[in-house]
Symmetry: C2
Subunit: 409 residues, 2 copies
Amino acid sequence: MKKNVIVGQSGGPTAVINSSLYGVVCEALNREDSCGTVYGMINGIEGLLKGTVMDMEPLERSGELELIRTTPGAYLGSCRYRLPDDLEDEVYPRIFERFEEYHIGFFFYIGGNDSMDTVSKLSAYADKIDSEIRFIGIPKTIDNDLVLTDHTPGFGSAAKYVASTVREIALDASVYDSKKSVTIVEIMGRHAGWLTAASALARKFEGDNPVLIYLPETAFDPDKFIESVRSSLESVSNLVVCISEGIHDAEGTFICELEKNVETDTFGHKMLTGSGKYLENLVKEKLGVKVRSVELNVSQRCSSAMLSGTDLKEAAAAGAYGVKCALEGASTKMVAFTRLPDAPYRIDYELKDVHLICNQEKTVPLEWITKDGSDVSQDFIDYALPLIQGSVKVPEENGLPKFAYRKNC
Amino acid sequence: MKKNVIVGQSGGPTAVINSSLYGVVCEALNREDSCGTVYGMINGIEGLLKGTVMDMEPLERSGELELIRTTPGAYLGSCRYRLPDDLEDEVYPRIFERFEEYHIGFFFYIGGNDSMDTVSKLSAYADKIDSEIRFIGIPKTIDNDLVLTDHTPGFGSAAKYVASTVREIALDASVYDSKKSVTIVEIMGRHAGWLTAASALARKFEGDNPVLIYLPETAFDPDKFIESVRSSLESVSNLVVCISEGIHDAEGTFICELEKNVETDTFGHKMLTGSGKYLENLVKEKLGVKVRSVELNVSQRCSSAMLSGTDLKEAAAAGAYGVKCALEGASTKMVAFTRLPDAPYRIDYELKDVHLICNQEKTVPLEWITKDGSDVSQDFIDYALPLIQGSVKVPEENGLPKFAYRKNC
């Protein structure tokens, strides 16, 4: 009897995590010789434990699956559930009972680091009990911080969103006359600066904004920062500075934690302003120029307005490739991208050992960051530019993007 | 001898203010029988005073003008210069000397309330000195708060941006399981709630997010707000609330000013958190649920990703119509839109007395706001929906939107 397939999504959403879901489901439905029912876990492994799964096939018949492909967020819902390190924990047999119940032969989990940890642990437990279920991770994260892969689905679209939005903010900042102004843009990424680095793509010509870019890979020195802002303002009246939310000083203290005077609000909560807000006040104090800070916020991971065609396509292909490999016998792997050395840009899809990926973090190479820590090199541009190519026309209805959603949520 | 044309932009930028510039310049260049040189003021009336103007014709020849049409921000640069009320002030003769110098016969100013004040005062001064220069205002503001016109160019695209972004944020908020959460989205608009109201367009079905919407047109009661959030969470697990930045209590105190404990930061600056941040803390304190606030920020006015085709077209047509009317002898007017009563949506372009427009403010009619002040009515939806129709393909280069910019800035 044919084994069934189950797929889930986990961790923070991205603009293309549903494209990977589309890839997995389409490929599995197309391989009806080898695959039985294709199930989706609602809210990842948590949903599986509760027995909330759905049959994905009707979505293909209704055309909804095609709409899912360009819908941001996680169609199946997500979770942030971390499996216990101890494989003797009672949760493992409970999960595998569910697998038994649904007659699962193939398990696909779309996510980042923590999700690969789930794939790794389930694989290890399967080994332990001699289960034949195959476990494959499909990468996903706007942070681009997974090791053993050239890049991750989700990064290209987020990078395109960041670069185009910073380009627009720079235009917005430039409309007033010669009075000096500083705009600080705070970009997602606590430990890895890939997304902040992508702001460099916003430049229309050499010396264009954003003139200064700070990643969390190097220590941030507020005094040097002020000096850089001061000297940059000599040549650029309306300066745009991009910072990662995770910039920190040489001691490792996040810049957003340097604010000492403000302790608690009316309700007793610590008023943690972001790093951008802190630096806004610092610039105001030290240089006395007009300054504002802008936090790009969740749109970085959920905007469908700036989908990268390359990213969307690769996300779906990663899902399909995972299914293909699982059917050929692979397990305990994550789908990875290897960039071919010659131009034009092309990638090979490969499998990497998921045990080696989970709980690792790939940061921007230090040689791609300029010595003073205030910019990225051409190497980064060459790396990132192919990933934002191609635009996607999201279906529209009544003047707005049309999205798929589960009717009961 | 033919008189020359001068055009300027003023106030905050929008996504389509350059489309109006395109409209004015194209029409004026096409009417070479009546118009001489077409000048642009760099940074509005301030630039005119300094003598920084540019010849616009080369932009048409180079194709740059077509690119300007879909570029957000203000291509010519903007200013926030308010002319003195006293027409005896020495600035008036200085401005009219410039007009003389450039042999100006037609003056077009693209902007909002304050810009119409400039048009009004220059018109009044022209009357006073019997000048034959014709002054026409071209409306522009994302706030949609100009009187005597159905709506303003800039609003449709901003509304489309707000609605689609809120729709995406609602998807993002819904990915985690049944744990209750609240997302508060803060939207531009100090006194007029048009843009915040546009978030209602984000709903995909009845009862969908954003469930609660608060405009500055009515008094905001924090206690009632908490009660509404509490009861909404009974039916919607992941609640999205949209608020205008300008919501205020019955005494007129802005909600963002209610925070009392936090006085100053390390540098002695008052730490004014936004209204969203204040309400985030209030919800955390009173209801103990997961809560975050998101400020949509400047992308509302400068994103080219969500241009409304209708808005872009009307913005250009408003500029062209202004030129046509000025050539026919009109002055002291603003171009206005009148919506024809029958479906489908159509507008007539008209002229209204600019003296009656400046320094007025059109807010959302109270009958379009629900009694408890937490939603807008179908009347608003019917009003706004036609304004966000049609999508625009912005030219792309190297994976990013290609924008026009003055090479010296």
